[in-house]
């Protein structure tokens, strides 16, 4: 992974593409729950979760590949754990929203769902920011530094 330019770049690109789809879909659903485009049915919009879950799987696969390339760089940086927690909680919220609204046009948007939407936006913003800052805040690039 580390020595192959193609493998590393492919993982990095896949990670970015998948992240754009996951965050984009979550933002759109959250904005709809908050009140944007009220005539757009949330139950129909949740059909896009199919793509969302494929993209989420791609995030974890490409993320694992990037972690394998530079494990010490990520594992010694607290921001890596912040990003990981934000992604996991964000995806749990996605699952909760999907279960609530998918194929259920009769379900009304309650205050809990609106709060979850705000939390979802905050968590995905944390994910994006932590992800970008990871490239600038590491103290250790390679574990061999310690030998």
């Amino acid at each position: 992974m580390r020595e192959s330019g193609v493998a590393f770049f492919s993982s990095l690109t896949l990670h970015s593409l998948a992240m754009a789809f996951v965050v984009g879909i979550n933002f759109t659903v959250a904005l709809r729950l908050i009140g944007f485009v009220p005539r757009l049915e949330i139950s129909a919009l949740s059909r896009f979760y199919v793509i969302h879950w494929y993209a989420a799987a791609a995030i974890f696969i490409s993320g694992a590949a990037l972690l394998l390339a530079y494990p010490a760089k990520a594992l010694t940086n607290p921001l890596f754990y912040v990003k990981l927690c934000a992604v996991v909680i964000g995806l749990l919220i996605s699952k909760r929203i999907q279960n609530t609204f998918s194929n259920k046009p009769e379900v009304l948007i309650d205050s809990v769902s609106i709060k979850l939407a705000y939390l979802s936006i905050a968590l995905w913003l944390i994910t994006l920011t932590a992800g970008r800052f990871l490239a600038y805040t590491y103290n250790t690039l390679l574990a061999s530094r310690f030998y």
């Binding site: 990095l12 984009g24 933002f27 485009v37 757009l40 920011t129 992800g131």
Partner: protein, 168 residues
């Protein structure tokens, strides 16, 4: 050109901000946030035009597009901040040039869409010709925006470009 961009960046305070400890990653985060807004709205609209989630009304989904335009404007502002702060890293970088090329194609494609097909989408009058046209344009749009992300990744990966760019 490089001098003009640098003096613009220095005169407006962009250069000082971007060279502060957190300036660059903060602007990068905002840049990617704008891209996510674009993919989450225009990308979903493209997927719908390609036939995915066909029970969603196209005209209703089209109302999300202004959010995507907001994301695009964020990208233009933050992209200008990158370009003007380190013009030598961007102007001659083939990844940037490719990214701008795909953005241009996406822009032309969007103009054709609004000139020929958007009226059918808004009025929900779908002729077979309009459906084929919409699918074709949606495909181009989706490919272009994904290519923009790929080229965006390439910019930093191959920076500086002088040792590999054939025409720089």
């Amino acid at each position: 050109m490089i001098d003009f961009l640098l003096s613009f960046s220095q005169a407006t305070g962009i250069y000082a901000f971007m060279n502060s400890p957190w300036g660059w990653p903060v602007v990068e985060s905002v840049h990617f946030f704008g891209l996510c807004l674009l993919i989450g709205t225009v990308g979903l609209f493209d997927l719908r035009m390609l036939g995915f989630a066909s029970e969603i009304s196209l005209s209703e989904l089209h109302r999300l597009v202004p959010i995507g335009v907001g994301g695009y404007l964020l990208n233009v502002v933050t992209g200008t901040m990158f370009l003007s702060t380190a013009p030598d890293q961007y102007l001659y970088n083939p990844a940037v040039q490719s990214k701008l090329f795909f953005m241009l194609i996406a822009g032309i494609n969007m103009m054709f869409f609004y000139a020929t097909t958007a009226v059918n989408i808004k009025s929900e009058t779908y002729t077979s010709q309009a459906i084929v046209r919409a699918k074709f344009m949606a495909g181009i749009s989706l490919v272009c925006w994904c290519a923009v992300i790929v080229c965006g990744r390439l910019i930093t990966y191959y920076r500086p470009p002088y040792h590999w760019c054939l025409w720089c």
